[in-house]
């Protein structure tokens, strides 16, 4: 009874990945892009996007689903960058400076988000989603009206001509790609942003270590059963909040890394799709809203971005219109998220049934012969 379900689960897990592989594999030749340039793109985009995706792992571990509220972190990161650019702090130090401004803000926002999500048990995801919209309004208010008005801005070059508020597009010359270029490495025509990878490696080590800590353990416990955890004396609410706080902080740093690679920042839009891309990536990577691993992140980023690179071109070559390809990849990414969520729900039900299957079928119930394992234990009791 258990086994087939297990197999089906494994299939379901990879279903998303498989679909994705098939589509992209088909699209690569059609797109007619040289493999080398595709590879180069992927290499860069891993360095650029993976960090953001990592920020989703902990909340999933804590059973809060995908933290669409990570966008709050992205906003904090952007505020950090605004100040770094405003004071023209150059190079990697500029990035660090931006993070040091951003992280406390992110922590604060994360705490608030955690409080909100604790009040919305069972619908964390949609709440986080709307919360991102709400805070976008606040962000706009701060950056567009308060900056240069109450919050002092130093440089006129980033101000709107009316004297307050930040420009639509911020050019990040001071820090552009400084991290990517910090430790350059060229292998056969591919340039690797080693520094980014190092940062990421540190992050991975942190996550692995964190899983080993008491807090990490508590998060797993809370994620699986809040009632039992509470009965055991684990501060459930606080643990959940911490998960969100950490996630938000990661998102903040992630956004900074992302933007330094982009080289300029759409002040009022850059953060809007962050949550969506991260969620799509981690789900494409085979994660569910209950379980996510480090490999999921990398697989996801590679697959998602491979598709984002090749499909539009393929669309152009097939239908003579890039739009089709672009819409297709969007429709597909959205669809994948929905699919992953549905699969998860379906799987949860299947497991619940299998768990109780022993109690069904009446007369052939579990009262008859004892399991072998117990027999062994019996011997243990004997001596």
């Amino acid at each position: 009874m258990k086994k087939p379900i297990l197999l089906r689960t494994i299939f379901a897990d990879n279903l998303v990945v498989v679909i994705f592989l098939v589509i992209t594999a088909a699209a690569v030749p059609v797109s007619g892009l040289p493999l080398l340039s595709i590879a180069q793109e992927i290499v860069t985009r891993i360095g650029r996007n993976a960090f953001l995706v990592f920020s989703l792992i902990l909340p999933i571990m804590a059973g809060m689903g995908i933290n669409f509220g990570m966008v709050l972190g992205a906003m904090a990161g952007q505020i950090g960058l605004i100040f770094a650019v405003d004071w023209n702090i150059v190079g990697v130090p500029g990035l660090i400076f931006a993070s040091m401004i951003g992280v406390p803000i992110a922590a604060l926002l994360g705490w608030m988000a955690g409080e909100v999500l604790n009040r919305a048990r069972g619908r964390e995801m949609v709440t986080g989603f709307i919360l991102a919209f709400l805070m976008d309004g606040v962000y706009q208010f701060v950056v567009l009206y308060l900056m240069g008005f109450i919050i002092p801005l130093h440089s006129i070059t980033i101000k709107l001509s009316r004297g307050y508020g930040v420009r639509n597009t911020l050019n990040l010359d001071a820090v552009r790609q400084t991290l990517d270029r910090l430790i350059p490495l060229k292998i056969g025509g591919l340039t690797f942003p080693i520094a980014n990878y190092l940062v990421m490696a540190v992050l991975c080590i942190f996550i692995v270590w964190f899983r080993k800590t008491k807090l990490g353990q508590d998060m797993r416990a809370v994620g699986q059963n809040q009632v039992v955890s509470h009965a055991a004396g684990i501060p459930v609410e606080r643990t959940r909040i911490l998960a969100i706080v950490i996630s938000t902080i990661f998102a903040c740093i992630g956004q900074i890394i992302f933007l330094q690679n982009m080289g300029n920042m759409a002040t009022y839009n850059a953060h809007k799709q962050t949550g969506f891309f991260a969620a799509a990536a981690i789900l494409v990577g085979g994660a569910s809203i209950a379980k996510a691993t480090i490999p999921n992140v990398f697989v996801g980023v590679v697959l998602l971005h491979l598709m984002y690179i090749v499909v539009p071109r393929a669309g152009t070559n097939l239908f003579g219109s890039a739009m089709i390809g672009e819409f297709f990849r969007d429709a597909f990414s959205y669809g994948v998220i929905a699919l992953a969520l549905v699969l998860h729900a379906w799987r949860k039900r299947a497991n619940a049934d299998s768990a109780r299957s022993g109690l069904r079928g009446g007369a052939a119930g579990n009262r008859t012969e004892p399991p072998a394992t117990i027999a062994a234990a019996d011997a243990g009791a004997g001596k």
Binding site: W209, K212, T213, K214, L215, Q217, D218, R220, A221, Q224, N225, V227, V228, S229, A231, A232, G233, I234, A355, R356, G358, L359, R360, G361, G362, A363, G365, N366, R367, T368, E369, P370, P371, T373, I374, A375, A376, A377, D378, A379, G380, A381
Partner: protein
């Protein structure tokens, strides 16, 4: 919050002064009432170190409440504390929450598992008591960033499990464990605490197979030998007699017997449990009903959490009131819920020889059955809706009543007027106390809500009526009225009734025959005037099923 009963001598003064050692646990004149209804009256007993005490009694005898008091469950304080004193090593203690009790060395193993499925044995046993290894992060960001010492935890686990004299893989996931292992894991978690001295087990063997149960009992004896005192709550009296040093029998909140286990038979204990002075319980005089069969059930199984039915068969005569009794968690509630299709179920149910489909409430209702659920607020009522909605809804959906055609029968709308009339009719008949039939159901008292549920069922004019725990949690007056109403519908409209209740007295006062369910099977069917001890026996796992 401790109400001291005035002028009571201390327990062990009253008992012979030759108590050598301080008893580990001493309950002294414990009494507790929930808003006037007394559930515990002057309960006193002691438990020596390394003793196993069997605590037996029917549902509602007060076992649970007693354990809650002992364990310092907040609900006790919230409902006004308790009278008398709990003493450990002669020290009066008053726990304000379970964690205090744990610190004082009391461990409790509840009936339903509190384990985390995705965790290993070790992780569960050490849950929130993990062994931590401090580091710089701890200094900077607090205790919770200390790394777990899994190796040490693993050995600790092995030690704890060893103490039970069983073998469980420390790295096995709970979700993949046989139920027995889960039970042992729970116990291991309790005894792993360094200071644990008293272990309370609530129906630990209920979910176990025979073999597993035997292992568990052996393990308990082992623990007792190690000097841990145990309070063993079980309805399986043979088990109680097998391992306990002394047996305390509770009935209606008082200790009716406090004796050493030695030299007593299951039958004795059973009769103490259920025995009442015959005056109180006057069984109905037998009726002679024609043997025409109204309803029969063959090999029914129901997967209702906490009330699993394994294999039940019985037959109900036309115009009969058939009672189904038994202790909580034995599956008696599963029977009606399964037949009505509210939980996954299998087997056969025939109404007047017509097979009823399983797991399809609609067609069962169509066939002319009705069900008054034990879960009044959860299943029985639309708490936010008005009374007439509650009464008329099922009839509307099942029979299409209370709908009036509009636009020349183009489609049909709710007939609010008819619904109101119906509601008022029943409000009158069953004396439901309410401001109007537009009052939301949640505002009614328990008793009136129960009447509402009955009205809902009667509105279907059923051939066969299932009533489940009809008098649970309602006051005496309402009780009587509910029972009379049932009797009235049975006698005057010939409605066949199957009544499920944990209150034996109630069953005996109204039913023509009473089936006792034990561990998902019918242990036996008795006449209402049968000897109480026999009922007791059937309830105590001594029934015909084995």
């Amino acid at each position: 919050m401790l109400k001291r009963l005035p002028g009571r001598p201390l327990f062990f003064h009253k008992g012979s002064a030759m108590v050598k050692s301080q008893p580990l646990l001493c309950l002294d004149g414990i009494s507790k009432d929930f808003y006037g209804t007394v559930v515990l009256k002057d309960v006193s007993f002691t438990l020596e170190k390394g003793q196993i005490l069997g605590l037996v009694g029917e549902n509602g005898a007060g076992k649970t409440t007693l354990m809650r008091i002992l364990f310092g469950m907040p609900v006790i304080a919230e409902t006004g504390g308790y009278g008398g004193r709990v003493m450990i090593d002669g020290e009066t203690v008053g726990f304000s929450n379970p964690f205090d009790a744990l610190d004082a060395g009391i461990g409790m193993v509840h009936q339903e598992f509190s384990l985390i499925p995705g965790f290993t044995t070790t992780e569960n046993i050490m849950l929130n008591r993990e062994i931590k290894h401090p580091g710089i992060m701890v200094e900077l960001f607090g205790e919770r960033l200390s790394v777990l010492e899994r190796a040490t935890m693993r050995t600790r686990t092995e030690k704890a499990v060893q103490r039970l004299g069983v073998r469980i893989d420390p790295d096995m996931l709970v979700s993949e464990m046989p139920v027995g292992h889960k039970q042992f894991t729970e116990i291991a978690r309790e005894i792993d605490r360094e200071n644990v001295r008293l272990l309370v087990l609530d129906e630990p063997t209920a979910v176990l197979t025979e073999t597993e149960a035997d292992i568990l009992l052996a393990a308990l004896k082992k623990l007792a030998a190690d000097g841990i005192s145990i309070i063993f709550i079980s309805h399986r009296l043979h088990e109680v007699l097998q391992i306990c040093d002394k047996i305390v029998t509770l009935r209606d909140g008082t200790v009716v017997k406090d004796v050493p286990a030695a030299g007593h038979t299951v039958r004795d204990v059973a009769s103490w449990m259920v025995g009442r002075d015959m005056g109180a319980a006057r069984a109905v005089q037998r009726r002679t009903l024609e043997a025409k069969e109204a309803f029969r059930v063959d090999h029914l199984w129901v997967d209702m959490p906490g009330e699993t039915v394994k294999d039940v068969s019985f037959s109900v005569r036309d115009g009969e009131i058939f009672g189904i009794g038994g202790l909580a968690g034995q599956g008696k509630l599963g029977i009606p819920n399964g037949i009505m299709g509210l939980f996954p179920s299998g087997g056969h149910a025939l109404l007047h020889g017509k097979e009823l489909p399983m797991g399809d409430p609609k067609s069962v209702l169509d066939a002319g059955m009705a069900f008054v659920s034990e879960d009044r607020r959860g299943v029985g009522l639309l708490l936010d809706e008005s009374l007439d909605w509650n009464i008329a809804f099922t009839a509307m959906q099942v029979k299409g009543q209370f709908l009036k055609p509009v636009l020349g029968g183009l489609f049909r709308l709710r007939d609010e007027k008819a619904m109101r009339e119906l509601a008022e009719d029943y409000i009158g008949k069953l004396e439901i106390k309410c401001t109007s039939c537009k009052q939301p159901a949640k505002e009614l008292s328990g008793g009136n809500q129960q009447k509402l549920c009955l009205s809902k069922a009667f509105a279907l004019t059923p051939k066969l009526l299932f009533v489940s725990e009809p008098t649970r949690g309602i006051d005496v007056g309402a009780k009587k009225l509910v029972l009379d109403t049932l009797r009235h519908y049975n006698r005057d409209f010939g409605t066949t009734i199957v009544m499920v209740s944990s209150e034996l007295e109630e069953l005996r006062s109204i039913c023509d025959r009473i089936a006792i369910v034990d561990e998902g099977r019918i242990a036996g069917i008795l006449e209402p005037d049968a000897d109480l001890a026999d009922f007791g026996l059937l309830m105590s796992g001594q029934g015909g099923s084995r």
